[in-house]
Every structure is written in structure tokens, then in C-alpha cells.
Amino acid sequence: MKKTKRIIRAVALGTLMAMTLAACAGSSQPATNSGGAASSAQEGGAAPAAGGEGIFKIGAIGPLTGDGAAYGQAVVNGSKLAVDEINAAGGINGFQVEHRGEDDELNNEKSMNAYNTLKDWGMQMLVGPTTSGCTIAVSDLAHEDNLFLLTPSGTALDCVKYDNAFRVCFSDPAQGTEAAQYMSEKGIGTKYAVIYDSSDPYSSGIYESFNAEAQAQGLEIVSAEAFTSDSNKDFSVQLQKAKEGGADLVFLPIYYNQAALILQQAADMDYHPTFFGCDGMDGILTVENFDTSLTEGLILMTPFSADSEDEMTVSFVQKYQEQFGEVPNQFAADAYDGVYALKAAIEAKGLTPDMSASDICTALMEAFPEITITGLTSSSLSWDASGEPNKEPRIFAIEGGKYVVQ
């Protein structure tokens, strides 16, 4: 008697738990759909019936909270701005576009959750994720689902290893190699030092290729010192080594927040080499409580400068500032170009929103190597079938608090 009651209680509890959770999951997403590859086909078929006229759905993923929030927000905002512009101008092939951004907290696992949330929403194309690790993790899922993935800023080599994954930015190896070639061609510096973040795949990826190319070019690297994300406040040891080695150029393939500390600490120890950064350096002029005059003469390779005076950039920067209250960085520009690239590819193939995500993906994979767009990050942006972009590298130096093209 007692036993049966206990079993009944257990059954009730287990069912209740599962039901509550499932209900929870269902309620947040009215358009419930089964997982797996079949779902995308169903969604594609169901959309026109439900909505009347079709809507393209573009998702974006990035860290909106936590350490990398600045990058993720830029990607989501940049892509949103592009979508709003496209909608205002009549949409893609006459169809409106819907945009939704999800948070991944700079965590591969959460990024996969964000991807699945967007899939439930009915995403047909993804502009994201923002960071390399997350992009690699999500590209596994996107490959299984055959959903088109265009990462604005996933720089690691493996981000585009699948044929349905493309990127807007240069890869890490490309950045490292180009930096070394540029230094050797222009003859800036005689002795070189590198300070990089060995715990960050972006930074160590650039360093590796820079190191290889520097040796090929015969550049003399006097010190290559690493730090990790746990010890990224005090750089005096690394700077001291560079100074003792007599380096007159310090290569910083790192993000701008650490770079600002390095510039400050180098000035404090009266060490004034030329600093050279990559695209992660973009944003250094926006660091708070930082004497931006220290950046004078800093050289950086970044695809985008908010100070550029071409019409497109000026209007982008103005709209972005109006809507989000800050100066856009290269993440926002990459994402903005990404959305326009999708638009160009969709128009080239005459796609419609009632097609399944998988069919759209297959068509976009064909279209991408054929299109060329004019964007914020390049005047002629085109792609290889491998997923890598073809564009000219842009190198700026900071003069008088502004980016000046080199």
C-alpha cells in the first residue's frame, strides 16, 4: 500500500518536473518545432502559411554580457542597423527582414544554446557568432543543419572549415603574415618585440603566423613574451624585456583594453617604441580614463575606421551613434557588411523567404563566391569558395587622435 503510494508520488513528481520544464520551453517559443534537420524544412514550409507574406529571418550571436560584451553588442547592433536600413529601403527582393540577437556570454556551450534558440525562432541565416571559439562550436551545428553561417569576426582558421561557413574579417594567419610583410616592406623598425595573450586563441593564432613570416622575411625578433587572461594587468616584465632587447617596434596582436595598459606602462618607464596592432586594437581611442595622446604614432591593421570620410562610413557612423549612442568599431562594421553581403547573395539567386533554411544555405554557398559588394570594410569585398574574404588589407596610423590611412 505504502509502496504503491510512493511509486505514484514518484511518477507524479517526475512527470510534473518534465512537464513544467517542457511547458517552460514551449511558452517562450510559440512556434514549437522538433529538433534535427527535418525542422528547418518544416519551418520553411510553415512560414508562408502562418505569416501570409514571407519574412527573411537573420540571427546574430555574440557576447552581450560579461567580458566580451563590447564586441557582441557591436555585432548585434551593426547587423540590426543594416537590417533596419534594408527594411526601410523596401527589403530584399521585396521581402522584409527580421533580426534577432542572442547572448553567448563568450562561452562555446552557451553559444550553441543561443544558436538553437535562434533556430527555434526560425532563423534562416546567421551573422555570427562574434568570437572564434564560439564560431567553431556553432559551425558544427550549422553544418549539421545546413544553415548558412557568416561570421563577422571569427578569425581562427577553423571557423570556416565547413563549406557553409564564410567570414567577413581576415583570418588570424592572414593578419600575422600581412603584418610581418608590411613591416618588412616599409622597413619600419629594426628590432622587434611581441607581447601576446597565450590564453587567447585569437592572439596566439596571430602570433604564430607572424613569427613564421617574420623569420621568412628575416626580421629580428628580440623578445616574444606572453601573458594570460589571469595576469593581464601588469606588463612591466614583458616591456622590460622588449626594452632591454632594444626593440624599436612592439607588435601587439591583442585586444585594445590590454593594449591601453601596455601603452600607459611603457610611457611610465620612458620606453617609446612604435606600437603595431591588429584589428583587435580598434577601439583604443574609446578606452575610458586613458590618455589617448599615448596612441600617437600607433599603427594598426583594421578593416574599418570611423574617421573615414567616404559617404558610406559617415552615414553609418552617424546612424549608429544616433541609435546606440557610441562610435561603432570594426565588429559593427563587419556585421553591417555581412548583412549586405547576404542581401547581395539572396538577390543574385532570387531567393524567397518561403524556402527552407537548408535550400537557402545551398543557394548562398553557390552565390557567395560570385558576388562582390562595396562595404564599410572594403571597397570591393568578394569571397573564395573556402569561405575566406578577398579584400585589401587596410593599415592606419593614429595621428592627432584620428586614424590616418597609410
Binding site: T15, N33, G35, N113, G133
Partner: protein, 350 residues
């Protein structure tokens, strides 16, 4: 004794039903893909919480490096799977990956236990914290690969001379990628059930009583002739092994492990501790429920956008108050009592 059996296994039955219902719903296509993707992580965090509760609640030693054992399980099994990907069929490979991951985690638990478990109280917490950080930092720096010449290990890319046809296993900060996605909800639930059975039986056994006596009064336990270090090692190693199993599920679910400080760093260990504390220290079932709820909560609140993490923090505080504030504890007891009092009457009617 006979009466105790269903009580002890009742919770396993609840989990089984939980699995059954969700699997049926998933088969019927009633779960969103977001929700289905949360099932596996939710389960492995529950497993890790059970492991940590064995250490914190039953053995009474505060460990804040348990994510380190998860990390060892995750990396060793991922390396095994990468190496045998071409040779072994999926099922066998995944089973062996579990064996490898659990053995490595247990081995490290044992090795670390030797010096560490002779320490008392806060010292153990400090050393486990350091251990977790060491594991994380080594794995972030090391390059490991295999080719025709044998195994290559290096601490930077220039010293790492792997022939092009070799297999890169760990690539420094770029981590491990390409692990097969073998984890499924079913496997995860089986592992959770097994670890619950192991922990429950350990607690009820003679060894378990010895372990808890050390927790309650070390001097008295020693005086009764209990070999304190032996039992501490036993519990700590089992705890590490179970955490390793959770790590295996992790690495075969998230196939790319970069930026590992997010999942295996100090914060991750503290997160596991939060699951254990909110579920009730020493309450194994509570850990499972707390881990599942707390993992799902921020994901379910995605609709709240940027307020989500703020609200999550507030929920944590409220849960803590609900569980431990004296006034609320008294209120809860009163409610329980009322339900208990009513129950016999309901039984008679039925």
C-alpha cells in the same frame, strides 16, 4: 531495511520518468531545439554537482577545484576519441572514452589527494583552487600531437614540430577541436543514474559511515580506529572520478574547447559549489535538482535580454534565503507538517 529500498531508489525512478517523458516529447517533436540542446549540459552539471557534494557534503572537505577534474576528464577523453576516431566504431569508442576520462580524473584525484588530504579545512580549499588553476593553465599552454615519429609535446608553436600528416590533439590556447559529438541525453541520464547509485550506496555502506564520522568528528573517528586518510582518499577519488565522467559528457557535447577558463576555471568550480550549496550540503538529490534548475534558469530567461543575468543573480539570492533563512525554514516546516497531517486522511479516502 526492506522499507528503505524504495525510498532510496525512489529518486532514481523520478529521474527515469523525467528522462522518459522528455524523450517521448522529443520524439513527438514537441520540444524546441533550444530546449533539447539544454538537456545534456543540464545533466552533466547535475553529475558534477553530485560529485562535488560527495566531497563537500559527505566527506566534509571544501573543494574549489572540482572543475579541474571535469577538465581532466574532458581533455583525456577528447584526446582518446580524436586518436581512435578512424579505428573504433562510435559506441565502443564512447564507452572507452568514458573509461579513459574517469580513470585519468580518478588518478589525478588520487595523486592530489595524497598530499592535500592530510591538510585540514581551509588549506584543502586553497590547494584545490590552485590545482584547478594549474590544470587550466597547463592545458591552455600545451601543444600536443602525434605523428609517425611518436608523440610531440611543446609549450609554444615554434618548438612544436609535427609532421603535416600527424594529428594535432591540443593546440595551445586554440584548444581541442573536432571531438565527435557522441553525448546524448540518454547516455547522460544513464551516467547520472549510475553516479547516484554509486554515491547513495557508498553513503549507506560501512565505508560511508566511516567517511561521515570523519566529517562529524575527526578526532573521535580516529580514536575509534578509523583510518582517516584512507577513507578521505576513497571519497575524494570517487568524487574526482564522477566529475571526470561529467567532463567526458562535456567534451563530447561541446566539440570545441577553447577559452577553457570559462568552463573549467575558478568561476566554474564556484558555480558547481553554488549548485551544491543551494541544493543542500550533503543532500545528493538536492544537488541534482538545484543543478538542473540553475542551469536552465538563465537559458529560460533569454526573453528578458540584457536583464537576464541581473535577474539570475537576484533569483540566486532569493533561493538562498528560501533555503536557509530561519523564518522561511520555520514556515516551510509548518507547511510540510500541514501536508503530512492531511495525508493519512487522503489515503483513507482512496
Amino acid at each position: 531495511m526492506k522499507k528503505k529500498l524504495p525510498e532510496k531508489y525512489g529518486f532514481l525512478f523520478v529521474i527515469f520518468l523525467f528522462w522518459l517523458v522528455l524523450t517521448l516529447l522529443s520524439r513527438a517533436g514537441m520540444l524546441t531545439s533550444h530546449f533539447s540542446s539544454l538537456l545534456v549540459p543540464m545533466t552533466y552539471y547535475a553529475i558534477a554537482a553530485v560529485a562535488l557534494n560527495l566531497c563537500v557534503g559527505i566527506l566534509g572537505e571544501l573543494s574549489i577545484g572540482h572543475a579541474g577534474f571535469m577538465c581532466i576528464g574532458a581533455f583525456s577523453s577528447a584526446i582518446f576519441s580524436l586518436l581512435t576516431r578512424q579505428i573504433l566504431p562510435g559506441g565502443v569508442r564512447f564507452f572507452l572514452a568514458f573509461v579513459v576520462g574517469i580513470l585519468f580524473a580518478a588518478l589525478f584525484g588520487f595523486l592530489i589527494g595524497i598530499p592535500v588530504l592530510r591538510l585540514k579545512g581551509d588549506y584543502l580549499a586553497i590547494v584545490t583552487l590552485a590545482f584547478g588553476e594549474i590544470i587550466k593553465n597547463i592545458l591552455q599552454a600545451v601543444y600536443l600531437g602525434v605523428d609517425a615519429d611518436g608523440v610531440h609535446i611543446a609549450l609554444n608553436m615554434t618548438d612544436f614540430r609535427l609532421s603535416p600528416d600527424g594529428i594535432t590533439l591540443i593546440k595551445g590556447a586554440q584548444g581541442v577541436s573536432g571531438t565527435p559529438r557522441d553525448s546524448s541525453f540518454t547516455v547522460a541520464v544513464i551516467v547520472l543514474l549510475l553516479s547516484l547509485i554509486i554515491v547513495q550506496n557508498l553513503i549507506d555502506s560501512r565505508d560511508g559511515r566511516a567517511i561521515m564520522s570523519i566529517r562529524d568528528n575527526r578526532i573521535a573517528a580516529e580514536a575509534t580506529g578509523i583510518h582517516v586518510t584512507h577513507y578521505k582518499m576513497l571519497a575524494f577519488t570517487i568524487s574526482a572520478a564522477i566529475a571526470g565522467a561529467a567532463g567526458v559528457l562535456f567534451s563530447h557535447n561541446v566539440t570545441t574547447m577553447t577559452n577553457i577558463s570559462n568552463y573549467f576555471g575558478y568561476n566554474a568550480s564556484i558555480m558547481l559549489l553554488v549548485y551544491v550549496v543551494l541544493g543542500g550540503i550533503g543532500n545528493i538529490r538536492g544537488s541534482v535538482v538545484a543543478a538542473m534548475i540553475l542551469y536552465l534558469l538563465p537559458e529560460m530567461m533569454r526573453g528578458l535580454n540584457r536583464y537576464r543575468m541581473l535577474i539570475y543573480a537576484i533569483v540566486l539570492i532569493l533561493m538562498m534565503l528560501f533555503n536557509w533563512a530561519p523564518a522561511l525554514v520555520a514556515l516551510r516546516k509548518k507547511l510540510w507538517q500541514r501536508i503530512r497531517d492531511r495525508r493519512p486522511a487522503v489515503g483513507k479516502e482512496a
